[in-house]
């Protein structure tokens, strides 16, 4: 997985070069950088393969950033990558034998039915197939995500209100 300073470096290099498009893929994470030709618009679209822990750069960052198209700082708080071979992880989790509940769509992750309410599930909670574990919202469509597994929640991988990608792991579950 790329680190934020690496992406920033790549953007700089692309920016200074004459190339208009740059793609690279590593450990299931894909970075696509496009320059908008003569227009001043340039933006990064970070897409993730299903296994990747993507950088949700579309999440509105709290303040305008000086360097235009870099992923939001959330990247650094991103959960441990799925793959154990990934070079860096803020907090490595041994997910051997653990089940990942992934997001079926791009959207905002909510841990509770409404702000201030108690979360659907917490670490240590037992879940069944049809236990609702969270909500993912896009365009006022609220998708109640079911565990689709029986077991115990061992880790919540994303923050409340965070933008999650398609296929992004949300929870680690120790199956029964």
């Amino acid at each position: 997985m790329f680190k934020i300073h690496e992406i920033r470096e790549i953007i700089k290099l692309v920016d200074q070069s004459s190339i208009t498009e740059f793609k690279v893929e590593e450990d299931g994470m894909k970075v696509v950088i496009k320059k908008g030709g003569s227009a001043s618009v340039s933006y990064v679209a970070v897409e993730s393969a299903p296994q990747a822990v993507p950088a949700p750069q579309e999440v509105p960052a709290p303040a305008p950033q000086a360097v235009p198209p870099v992923p939001a700082p959330k990247t650094e708080e991103a959960p441990a990558p799925a793959s154990q071979t990934a070079p860096v992880a803020a907090e490595p989790v041994d997910d051997t034998g653990l089940h990942k509940i992934t997001s079926p769509m791009v959207g905002t992750f909510y841990k509770a039915p409404e702000p201030g309410a108690s979360p659907y599930v917490q670490v240590g909670d037992k879940v069944k197939n049809d236990t609702i574990v969270c909500i993912v919202e896009a365009m006022k469509l609220f998708n109640e995500i079911e565990a689709e597994v029986t077991g115990e929640i061992v880790k919540v991988l994303v923050e409340d209100g965070q933008l999650v990608e398609y296929g992004q792991p949300l929870f680690l579950v120790k199956p029964e």
Partner: protein, 325 residues
Amino acid sequence: MNIRENLLQMFKQAGGEFISGEEISRRLGVSRTAIWKHIEEFREEGYVFEAVRRSGYRLVFAPDVMIAEEIKVGLSTRVLGQKIYYYPSIDSTQNKCQELAKEGAPEGTLVVADQQTEGKGRLGRVWHSPPGANISMSLLLRPALELQKCPQLTLLTAVAVVETLHEFCGISAQIKWPNDILINGKKVCGILTELNAESDRIHSLIVGIGLNVNTLPEHFPEDVHGIATSLRIEKGEPLRRVPLLQQILTRLEELYDLYLAKGFAPVKKRWETYAVTIGKKVTIRTLQGSLSGYAEGIDESGVLLVRREDGSVTKVYSADVEIHG
């Protein structure tokens, strides 16, 4: 159609003329006592019948109640609203519709209520609605769609409502991304959709619509004063809800069929026609912070594209949008 629907249809087609008990009995194949009982039930709902010995019955007045029969008679849809559950008062039509969905109710099942005591808004906000004034409805869909595409249906619903308001009420309304409906900058309709799905299969997609029809200014709670409106306030006269609801269902079905056949592109075009957000300076608020920029448009999936001052474009999937000027 069941007997009650057939009976009501007969009276409506008679256009206020008398129909003899004998004729009704013959055409519906039920006893005159049964007919009398049904008519008594309609009277309890507020219908006024005149009964004259030897002439029979005639319908003098049909109230604007959203009972199944009143909605069904004159409804031209194929699927949407073909099964209707009406409640004078209910906690939330969404909750009821979800329950029905779990019990296997068919696509198009409609739950309507005269009053919602716990109407749902985004992020646990309350949707206010005084009794008997508005349309609170939830519609069950079971599309064979990729999950990723489902949010587009919320934009589609907004198009259906705006076009109905235009054609049926002569009101020109706008859409604030993704699907708030505004008249003169004030909110008249909220749409909220709940999806229940497995990774590869949609069980139910429930579209909730709250439309302020006949709310008077004094009926709005203090916290929405100045930001909410109703059709009655805008038109200066009360409107009948049932024909409006029938029209929404008809338009929604037309758009839904179009969408399933041709995808989002034709719907997107119509959405853009009514969009008030696009081309404006906006502030986007989410749980994780806010940002300002210029709303460039929506992409082919319905996501809002906001260009920041530094030229970068941010994709917005869910947020409260404030429009500046």
